[in-house]
Symmetry: C2
């Protein structure tokens, strides 16, 4: 059977290996497997969210509120914007999908950093658009500027801070770059880890309201999957001017968010104390990773997120990741991104201690 | 800002009005509002599903299992097919979206009944495809055959039984029609209400396994939103040959189903007794609707689903629906589908008694 030709060039996204798979493949008991591969919040779900889910579980025979009235109001209030500035997706992923499919076709071009969130490229390829990447792995706005002028892309992606590397542009330099961008180019500011970056360094903080008021062609993406500890619930959002939101809505399927996910996100927004506490712990644990790297003379990228990227010279990252996996420690090998590096989620104290111990063992064996 | 031109022709889907909205607009207490507008299972969520959701709510900080191993195995076992015959979506809606976007572009044509599920047309318009419809509102395979030969469409939709009308083709006539269809045309058999039809009349039952073995160009869609009472959880699936499934997967975003939705669906599949009991009650209540229509000399379409369509001659359906709404009774007016009719979900004994009472009142007022 014939399908649209563009599909031939669409790669499949490789998710972090689930714990069950390691259990099945290596016979390690689930309780002994540690997953530091998907940048989940390791401190669990807010108890207030858990209670809310339990309270309304009996109502699941009813369809969700497709207007998403309450969650939109809550987000509008948090960001001091209007409801019509907001679109909610099954993860901020789905907002990427809406935006790319609304704007791109096979004549389009999209611009992104060489090493950034894999889904930008996958969604763009679904439309047949041409992918333009900087030479540098990390975001380099000089290269962005040059490529922007040369190619006049339909979409520019800025991942702030960047996944999977952890580096983060300053707000000032982002704004300066955006000044030079034509108003018909959609600029996607992916703030999936913004809560972490803003906590560590206020110069990184981008306010969605200020962004979209200053640049009508920008959209800000946020998620509940990271700092808000709801990776399993799939809720993200886009903040932009109504003209952009309305066009994205044309691609939104009805009921794209489950009732429980809507309720969990609303509840999570009420528990900012939990979120701040998790972020605070994250950066305390991050210091242990930095010390470990310094002590062992490993290069790492200073991170504004809840993960850290460690670059190897004398070891092969793929082998390191595999040997860790066999010991029940799941992390992310970045070979597929063209880097001899691993990306490790900052876990709890116990998880991190175990990681350091196992990595020592593995490196000793690979010497 | 410029967006893809096709978006201009994409209409927005109008969901059934939520109870909260009626409360806000007409000041009726939520407990006094009855919603018979979205064909939800009125007997609530299976207690086993509720317990499962409550048990795992604390794990929501972790991403879902993107392989969906367990739910796929459960569905494969139910339908006696393999895991690679299955794709899971956020409602069967999302499988429609995958299939249409995988197959169609602005040169494509799609064929459907005049009055059928609104999303077929909306998704098709997102790709710029041309919509071909039969003259008859209900599925008429003679007309389908004629239009198929004339237009050679890329996709044919058969909604079996049909929403929003409730009629249902026999398996034998569907198969006879499919014999005449070219193997490069994708035939989508939408079985969202199949559990009801198969229970009422075994001649309506289409087995996904037999269907896809006989017609490699067919895909069967099922959902957990209706008989399985999980409308709020958004889980549906497609069963087809691996070549089709693989192409649909190219458009699936990672983690498109939440952890709780996966678990709820798995649990719901284990509780077939609950489902059968709900379907049995549904058809007992359906008899009351038929009697009501006969007693009042209203025409209705014999229904193989959990809703019934009532056609008016001496009343205007839009006025009837509005007056019912003002009394806290939400049903669906079919004016937008070109019919002077209403679609009413078969509710519980109490809900239905209230519906008959309020409809009598309203019709008396409109006389």
């Amino acid at each position: 059977m014939k399908f649209n030709k563009v599909l031939k060039n669409v790669p499949l996204y490789e998710a972090g290996k689930p714990i069950e798979l390691v259990t099945r493949e290596y016979g390690i008991s689930p309780k002994d497997v540690v997953k530091l591969a998907s940048n989940e919040n390791p401190y669990g779900t807010s108890p207030k969210v858990v209670k809310k889910i339990q309270d309304i579980a009996k109502d699941m025979f009813k369809y969700p509120d497709d207007s998403m009235y309450e969650l939109k109001e809550a987000l509008a209030s948090k960001y001091e914007v209007e409801s019509n500035n907001i679109v909610i997706g099954s993860g901020s992923d789905q907002i990427l999908e809406f935006a790319i499919h609304a704007k791109c076709n096979k004549k389009s071009k999209v611009l992104m950093a060489k090493t950034t969130f894999a889904m930008y490229e996958i969604y763009a390829k679904q439309t047949g658009a041409e992918i333009i990447k900087t030479k540098s792995s990390q975001h380099n706005l000089k290269e962005f500027k040059k490529l922007y002028k040369k190619h006049n892309p339909d979409i520019i992606f800025l991942c702030i801070p960047n996944n999977p590397l952890g580096e983060c542009l300053d707000k000032v330099e982002v704004y300066e770059f955006l000044e030079s961008v034509d108003k018909d180019t959609l600029v996607i500011i992916d703030g999936a880890y913004m809560e972490y970056a803003a906590y560590k360094d206020i110069n990184k903080k981008i306010s969605p309201k200020d962004l979209i008021n200053t640049f009508p062609n920008a959209i800000y993406l946020g998620t509940f999957s990271k700092a808000y500890a709801l990776g399993g619930m799939r809720v993200g959002y886009g903040v932009a001017n109504p003209e952009i939101i309305q066009n994205l809505y044309k691609l939104r399927a009805p009921f794209n968010i489950t009732t429980l996910s809507l309720a969990a996100a609303i509840e999570a927004l009420k528990d900012e104390e939990f979120v701040n506490d998790c972020i605070d712990k994250n950066f305390k644990q991050m210091k242990r990773f930095e010390k470990y790297c310094n002590d062992n003379n490993f290069e790492y990228i200073p991170s504004y997120t809840n993960f850290i990227t460690i670059l190897f010279k004398n070891f092969i990252s793929k082998q390191v990741a595999q040997k860790l996996l066999e010991r029940g420690m799941i992390i992310r090998d970045l070979t597929g991104y063209g880097l001899n590096a691993i990306r490790v989620t900052i876990g709890t104290t116990t998880q991190n201690t175990k990681f350091f111990k196992l990595l020592n063992e593995v490196l000793e064996e690979l010497k």
